[in-house]
């Protein structure tokens, strides 16, 4: 009986595992030495959509994005402004082909995001909270459910 219960529990745990992973909280991180302590959602939008290229203190923002195939990219833009990856790409096609600006560099993994952010004074990216280490500073957190926010 006890064995069966354990089996059942571990099965449930396995089932819930991907769900828990999918809801791991995404956060926006900047270089720990950038002098930026917190950013509102609108300020994060300004940087990731290329509207603004500097922080309040004048340091130049150097955003990094993830490749389309990385699931965190879709989650990030959905949490940030409720947009699909296709809509974000459509936005960038307008910027690129009207000669305004090129999109942020895209990297393949959260590790590369941390590396990018920590090696540039104005580096800014998004990762799961658990991946944010001492080299970076969390400046914005999203709620765990998509589309809701915990603005700082």
């Amino acid at each position: 009986m006890r064995q069966r219960l354990l089996l059942c529990l571990s099965f449930c745990w396995l089932l819930l595992q991907p769900l828990a992973e999918a809801h791991a909280e995404l956060v926006v991180v900047v270089n720990a030495r950038s002098g930026v302590a917190a950013m509102t959602r609108n300020e994060v939008i300004n940087v990731f959509f290329g509207r603004s290229r500097q922080y309040f203190n004048g340091v130049e923002a150097q955003p990094v994005d993830l490749v389309d195939s990385h699931p965190d990219r879709a989650r990030f833009y959905n949490a940030l402004i409720g947009k699909d990856v296709a809509e974000v790409n459509a936005y960038w096609s307008r910027q690129v082909f009207s000669g305004r600006l090129q999109p942020p560099t895209k990297v393949n993994s959260a590790e590369e995001v941390i590396k990018w952010v920590s090696s540039r004074p104005g580096g800014i990216g998004f990762v799961e909270l658990a991946k944010a280490d001492a080299r970076v500073r969390v400046v914005h957190e999203f709620g765990s459910a998509p589309g809701t926010l915990a603005n700082k």
């Binding site: 402004i81 296709a86 790409n89 096609s93 307008r94 690129v96 009207s98 090129q102």
Partner: protein
């Protein structure tokens, strides 16, 4: 096959294979993803495969007045199909050189590739951006990306708003300044240059080469909101080829030619735009006023409203657009024949119509969208300006446009 042709074919073959290698190298992800400090080269492109038809033979429907011929009541790929390629060389974080070529249904018919952009961009600081060279113009919001179908919701930018803009580029420069204001961003831009190109008029061309064009806009963006007010003007360097396109027995007298001259006359463009783009909603409202300095053309007011709502990868949308021109008073002091000619020429720039459009965008796979749209154009029977080859006797101002497009970026 003549023997002398063989070596030439071999050379051509080698050239093509080399070009393929170069293209494959340039577009490889390694170069595209080069770090931000190093110089990098990126090759990107966009395109549309589109077919459309109307429900009339009385006029030819065009996307804008840069097109000499339009479509009638048979499916045709002529007005919407386009292919664009951009090579952008980032020399260092401040300097970038960009060239963009676009091939579309040309003013002479057929598929004419053209170098549409070629400029150098210099960003001395994060809030200042300078460009010089061959540039697209932003007369109205979104006007400089009118051919990048993938970038917008509808099949084509609403005609009642954009028909009047056959101007695509200048040789000149622009400067943009931005500043963070509260949580939003204010951005201002000024541009000046000499326009280039020709506007088809019946079988003739209206040369707009060398016509000075200048403009400015101020915009504010916060969250999903984007507001912009803009002004631009253009002073025509050449006269309309009226004498050549007047149907017989009308002829252009010196008095009428002087009265209808466009050379040295200035046209002013004013516009206001509001875009909301957040969550599943997309909405746009744009208004424009065009003040024609020449007696040959009528001034006009236009606008459109558009609302779309995304459900998974499908976004149905609904819109309404309008344009009407202001009839000018009959000029005094001319003989009846001259007055008749002046009236005829002005009629050609008369517009009075409204369009309801409904459609759907489906983002099928990454970077590819399929769109279908129905435009119900309801206008007065003297609304001629937006069309080509009008048969004034039978045209009743009403038609429907059915369009299907496949838009992509790469």
């Amino acid at each position: 096959m003549p023997v002398s042709l063989l070596p030439r074919l071999a050379v051509l073959g080698r050239c093509i294979s080399r070009l393929t290698l170069v293209l494959a190298f340039l577009s490889s992800p390694l170069t595209a993803l080069a770090g931000d400090e190093e110089s990098s080269f990126t090759l990107q492109g966009f395109g549309t495969l589109g077919v459309a038809r109307s429900t009339t033979k009385d006029v030819e429907f065009v996307r804008d007045l840069s097109q000499r011929r339009g479509i009638v009541d048979e499916w045709s790929p002529a007005i919407d199909s386009v292919l664009g390629v951009q090579g952008s060389w980032r020399i260092n974080p401040q300097f970038e050189a960009v060239a963009q070529a676009t091939g579309r249904a040309g003013s002479r018919g057929g598929f004419t590739p053209e170098l549409t952009w070629a400029y150098v961009k210099y960003d001395p600081t994060p809030y200042l951006s300078l460009r010089a060279g061959r540039l697209g113009t932003e007369f109205f919001m979104l006007a400089d990306s009118r051919w990048v179908g993938y970038s917008f919701l509808t099949v084509r930018p609403p005609g009642d708003y954009f028909w009047y803009l056959p101007f695509y580029g200048i040789h000149g420069g622009d400067a943009a300044v931005s500043a963070n204001v509260g949580e939003g961003v204010v951005r201002g831009k000024v541009f000046y240059g000499l326009s280039r190109g020709k506007i088809p008029l019946a079988s003739e061309d209206w040369n707009i080469n060398g016509s000075p064009m200048m403009g400015a806009y101020l915009e504010y963006q916060i969250g999903g909101w984007h507001l912009r007010g803009s002004y631009a003007n253009l002073r025509f360097e050449h006269d309309l080829p009226i004498a050549q396109v007047l149907p017989s027995p009308l002829t252009l007298s010196t008095a009428a030619a002087n009265f209808l001259q466009t050379r040295g006359k200035r046209t002013h463009y004013y516009s206001l735009g509001v875009v909301y783009d957040q969550g599943p909603w997309q909405a746009q409202l744009m208004l424009n006023h065009i003040e024609q300095g020449t007696e040959a053309l009528e001034s006009s007011d236009g606008g459109y409203g558009l609302v779309g709502y995304r459900i998974a990868s499908v976004t149905p949308y609904l819109g309404y657009s309008w344009v009407y021109s202001h009839e000018r008073a009959t000029p005094l002091g001319f003989d009846p024949v001259t007055t008749g000619v002046i009236r005829y020429v002005r009629q050609d720039s008369h517009t009075d119509q409204k369009t309801t459009f409904i459609g759907v965008r489906w983002d099928v796979v990454r970077n590819v969208a399929l769109k279908a749209q129905w435009d119900a154009i309801r206008g007065a029977s003297d609304s001629y300006f937006p069309y080509r080859k009008d048969h004034r006797a039978t045209w009743d101002g009403k038609t429907n446009i059915f369009s299907l497009t496949l838009d992509f970026v790469f």
